[in-house]
Symmetry: D2
Subunit: 314 residues, 4 copies
Amino acid sequence: MRIDHYDDFDWQGLLDSIGADIAPLLTHGEVANYIPALAAVDPESFAMAFVNLRGETFTTGRASTPFSIQSISKVFALILALELEGEALWDRVGREPSGTAFNSIVQLEEDHGVPRNPLINAGAIVVTDSIVGHCGESTAIARLLAFIRKAANSLGPRIDMKVAESEEAYGDRNRALAYFMKSFGILKEDVPIALKAYFQQCAIAMSTVDLARAGLFLANGGTDPATGLELTTKTRTDRLNAIMMMCGHYDMSGDFAFSVGLPGKSGVGGGILAIIPQVGSVAVWSPRLNQAGNSLAGTQALQWFSERSQVTLF
Amino acid sequence: MRIDHYDDFDWQGLLDSIGADIAPLLTHGEVANYIPALAAVDPESFAMAFVNLRGETFTTGRASTPFSIQSISKVFALILALELEGEALWDRVGREPSGTAFNSIVQLEEDHGVPRNPLINAGAIVVTDSIVGHCGESTAIARLLAFIRKAANSLGPRIDMKVAESEEAYGDRNRALAYFMKSFGILKEDVPIALKAYFQQCAIAMSTVDLARAGLFLANGGTDPATGLELTTKTRTDRLNAIMMMCGHYDMSGDFAFSVGLPGKSGVGGGILAIIPQVGSVAVWSPRLNQAGNSLAGTQALQWFSERSQVTLF
Amino acid sequence: MRIDHYDDFDWQGLLDSIGADIAPLLTHGEVANYIPALAAVDPESFAMAFVNLRGETFTTGRASTPFSIQSISKVFALILALELEGEALWDRVGREPSGTAFNSIVQLEEDHGVPRNPLINAGAIVVTDSIVGHCGESTAIARLLAFIRKAANSLGPRIDMKVAESEEAYGDRNRALAYFMKSFGILKEDVPIALKAYFQQCAIAMSTVDLARAGLFLANGGTDPATGLELTTKTRTDRLNAIMMMCGHYDMSGDFAFSVGLPGKSGVGGGILAIIPQVGSVAVWSPRLNQAGNSLAGTQALQWFSERSQVTLF
Amino acid sequence: MRIDHYDDFDWQGLLDSIGADIAPLLTHGEVANYIPALAAVDPESFAMAFVNLRGETFTTGRASTPFSIQSISKVFALILALELEGEALWDRVGREPSGTAFNSIVQLEEDHGVPRNPLINAGAIVVTDSIVGHCGESTAIARLLAFIRKAANSLGPRIDMKVAESEEAYGDRNRALAYFMKSFGILKEDVPIALKAYFQQCAIAMSTVDLARAGLFLANGGTDPATGLELTTKTRTDRLNAIMMMCGHYDMSGDFAFSVGLPGKSGVGGGILAIIPQVGSVAVWSPRLNQAGNSLAGTQALQWFSERSQVTLF
């Protein structure tokens, strides 16, 4: 893409066309049902929001309705943990695609308890463990929430305690991952404490427009273009985008790179955040998922977004 | 990056600085010794070449010395196979990072003989099988070589038959991969015929400057900016760059994306090709390899190239 | 079991009762169809034969009809290879249950090309490679056949060349295993030569009564009780029986030990040989297989044989 | 073996010879150090005890010194669980060799949370979960201990609470296994409750002579030959011995069957129990372990025991 092409681009027209074309897809796929609290959502919801570096916001669908961002929170947690712990964090979590499902434990055994990357569950638990270690049990998630609110420039993001409790009630697989890593010394905090924070982190809710706004600094080298706040460095931003590109969609990361061509992160709540460096940040939400656990309509919407605007990185 | 920043960039100065700084690294790492023909090279060779969209060429080191590009040929073979077979090729090779070593057979068993991506050995054998199927046994590799020469706008690229014979003599692991896929019906041609072509493909030799030039169309949406020849479509170019980004460095692809931030492909001959969309194409060569089988000095040189010019995609 | 209990046991009555009870099961399961030559057999065939240490023979069903013993030949090949190569054979094949399917290649990658045991395909190919190494390409299988004829005290056993050709025509998976091991230096002979012998070994045909007779020396410490010929030592006999117990039924070996309680080896031709140390040798044949690839009726017949005569080792 | 050969066998002479020959081996191998409580034992201890069906007891070494039987308790727990739950227990634990290490979690993921057999850690946790389910949290282990004391006809066996606490303190790997199985619904009780019982079960301590005596009913079809108590049925006894043969020594079960030829179970405390059906029960103890985690001197002692008395099953 040539960035200057986008100065006068009709983003609203693009979003309107996607909103119109997506309707037939909203009845396909299945809403995540691994926790009851997620299954309660209207399955045919759809929203999309784009924020550019000038701070202009474009939306279609229910862009102000909060939803559970689930694993998308892993991106913000990773930035915060890097700010707190620095590059030493990479001693206990890798940055390679895993080639396996989001909750696989096989890779952990091969690699002596070190998760392949920070965007699969095991790696994200390490990241949360780091935040808890630096901020303390009682303030870790408050600190993360504050970070996200600052990035979104909004008080909208909050913890949905009903979802957090549901995560905790159905959290045995994550407990297995955590104790496994603990047995190798990769986790430093007590497992129940680290997991309590992790379950709350997964339960962060926010609107599609807030989510797009929260990702904007990642399109601008780490600095919020509207407020001027430096949330992280340029180098870390580049690297985060690289990690999202490589690992953001579990074992369909390659497919997302192939068809959308942007760094992104999906969550089982049906949200996806994608970054267009130097152009803007786009979020989409639609609860029904494809077989790999990514939003079915959301993935298609982003593919159209990329094709029709030609914003692919490649 | 902002592409217009690079109109007056001092590329030669950048390459000169890298050439000067790289010297102490040239004694680190080990030359590939899995085939005798590769071990014969001067281990401390170094070359780097950059070609921009205007067709300007900048070099440092032994940029005119031919070397064995080995797995880098997989990129050109993939483009040719897609031109010949179309998207049906994706029915028998995936596009996900493998998370395992370049010659692993474990993943093949899990996935019923379908290789995870076309840049690991198994996937590249499928690609070659496709070319042989469309061009015939006798002309397949001639066709591939012609494609590379056209891309490089040079008659320099050739098959090093001594290396090809060495590949064949030490090819039992690749035979195992090929017969395994054949048993699942993924390979269509006779195994010895497909492998004969594959071994020759691995033995393509060319200079660093020719290699950079041969990658230029991938930085320009599929069309050679100097000759105007359309070697492939814009969509296919985007997707190829995405595949290189995700899978170009075996089980260190994530690390390369993290530290260099560009689509690239390495070979055990010590070469690496990297693409900077809309800016240019860069190649590096240094025979000593790191533990993952990628050029040690070459990887560092590309990291400096990316950092100092700020050409990372992210 | 107390061995002296069996001096006056009514073996013929036992076999008659099994022959009568088995009829309803003969329509269950599927005949092996991985090679066409095997699929040509009458699927509802059934035969059982028992030979005791006195040399008395008892049969039911089509006990004189030859069938393809397939993997059961691995037992005789192993004894012969041990006689030829001695304990050094264990340097290149293990003796642990594999926990995976008969033709799995995953375990080979973990163990650097050394098969887990000599009764899975990869291990049996190593065994055949050893015989070829010691006897030469032209006489290896003739030597194995002579060994089996001596053990069976019969000229009945022969190579079914039609089956051998079918094995060769559909042998790509075994080629993959062989080249994989060759790449680690575990196989010593040329792969096509070792495999040609292996395919013929798999194609040995003999009757159920000859098969039971051929196993008799394994129930008598290595010496044929009728002829007095020492085919192998007592120690090797004990160990062979142990290996059959641990590994004789692929990933259902535990189930066979649990329900039958005897050392045994099955083949996809529908045959099973089981040894009752110091009592006798029993063979069964019925072509339809269960999901693990073992004779469905044959497994049940052996379970009844063991339960009704109380010959379990445990 | 012919059982009547053993009526006048000089068992004491056999044990004396083993006791004399084993001395040089007692300084080889390493004491288990995964929990501090185990590391406190005298590393060069050695004891062996044999009890025959007449109830005669023969010993050598420190046969009255209690030691931590660790995983050997899995055998007694399995019998008790089968008495309580019946064959339905096999719905949630398999009976195949695992082909992997005692605490591997890889196999669990492949098999949807069902452990391969009841003698690896995951399977034993299922067994304990069953006992807790049937007996209640407060009496489960008391019930198991009562069963073992009845089998041993001794009040010697007890729970070593210091070891139990050490197991609990270093139990994260087992917690991972348990939560993983819980996430698939294979465990029925609360994980901390099931594990508390499991840790105590691992901490059972008893002398070598008591251990040999406790195994005697397994050599006699389930009935204690001295007291006439039927502890389990003949069928279950046969099957238990089969399971011990197949799975009793983790990923060296095949080697034990090959070299010793008896059903047996080892523990990281350095104990091994082996059963000679219709002859007797033999126990050995020596704390230093080989690389697979089985008693180094104990394994050798049992091999000599088997060779010199010719009691191998095969």
